[in-house]
Symmetry: C2
Subunit: 251 residues, 2 copies
């Protein structure tokens, strides 16, 4: 049995809490939250860092820029303290405790359940024994648990911004554009799903299609003409040039 | 029974052929292909437009810039001739025949099967009776068949470029970046799948997360520092600005 305290109860904290609750051999002994919570009858909650319970592991799930500060406010020494961030280095944690990272590589939203089994858990720790504990904990909730040093984790997180944040923004731009023109965005949903599904068995390079790949100047000109908004035009041009460059010059 | 001749046997032509073959009440009487084909024992194939068989409907599935020319070379008059392109107007077809469009809104690759039932078929025709035939044909292979005029189809196609071509290119850039750094791109695949899945029940605007949305300048600066390549930097900046603009100013 691994005992855990979750420090911070935002999106990541809450999703981790539910995943641990459903796992065997993990005991979430306490949750720290700055704010009052609803519907928390069965959660042992504290609002005071000085009241933190004893546990094998403390998981700090707070905004990136608060990790160092919160880790420095913990009222104990030499325990295992981890954060859950993709972009913050392990060394950012306070030197008072043993350091580690427990980063679930996924996008979390309120009111949208995810299947933790499929979520890669990227962990690291200063000490081997702590790394083993984090690995065991990861394997209780996920089928993909990998040891990744801080630098590679930062690269993964950056790549995740491309495939998640930027991609979702392209969905948004499409929806805004179609809605403005009275066309149903739902018609694109099968294409969106298939675009993601396709690369499970095909490299994105081989999956690429479209006017930029074909160097179809006529269609590109038509599209730029349809886009009245300069912000859209800029994104269209930037990505079209990048596709041309990739597929023309064979990087 | 609707009889169909498919003119052009590239990706779209071949996928349509297989969908029609699996459907009841559609008879693909012939396929035209400029090039010789392998494994076509049971397809009635011709390489000469002058040998085209008689059918209720001719579906021209050739590259966009060849549609007008091929439609002008058909050796008959007053039959129903359609193309399958998202971006070419119906009027681009030759005036010799009755015009229509039969556009399956999906990305097609060789050796990658798709489930046609989920693919929206966007059709239009000059004459009501032809529109009815195209609608019936669509319903034999798909559960989502909609009449869409040329202008809206062009807008849909443009939006499809954003959610498919551009998104897939972001996948590619991420893969290239991670591979260059010795990190396994497969770790991102659950995130990619979830990003697409999430917007089935959530608007992309509500699904947006990440440093640009949070205005997290520290992480953005770290990311730009990690990206040594100017092309990547440009894409990162362009999309980050666009997210800031969307979520900061509430467009």
């Amino acid at each position: 049995m691994i005992s855990v305290v979750i420090v911070g109860f935002g999106n990541v904290g809450q999703h981790l809490y539910r995943a641990f609750k459903n796992a065997i051999d993990v005991d979430v002994v306490q949750v720290f939250s700055r704010s009052k919570l609803d519907n928390t009858e069965d959660i042992a909650i504290t609002h005071d860092l000085n009241d933190l319970a004893k546990a094998d592991l403390y998981i700090i799930a707070v905004p990136d820029d608060a990790i160092a500060e919160v880790s420095g406010q913990l009222p104990f020494k030499d325990r295992l303290v981890t954060h859950t961030s993709g972009s913050v280095a392990m060394k950012a944690l306070s030197n008072s405790n043993r350091k580690g990272v427990f980063y679930p590589l996924q996008t979390f939203s309120k009111d949208h359940e995810v299947d933790f089994k499929e979520i890669p858990i990227c962990f690291e720790a200063q000490e081997n024994q702590d790394a083993e504990l984090l690995e065991s904990l990861g394997e209780m909730i996920s089928e993909k648990v990998v040891q990744i040093p801080s630098e590679e984790r930062a690269q993964l997180h950056l790549a995740a911004v491309f495939v998640n944040n930027f991609t979702n923004h392209l969905y948004h731009l499409s929806e805004a554009y179609l809605t403005e023109n009275g066309v149903d965005f739902d018609l694109l949903k099968p294409l969106i799903k298939e675009t993601a599904r396709k690369i499970e068995g095909l490299s994105p390079n081989d999956a690429q299609t479209g006017p930029a790949k074909r160097d179809d100047k006529m269609t590109i000109a038509k599209h730029l003409d349809l886009l009245k908004n300069d912000y859209y035009k800029k994104i269209y041009k930037t990505l079209t040039q990048s596709i041309s460059r990739t597929h023309g010059k064979k990087l």
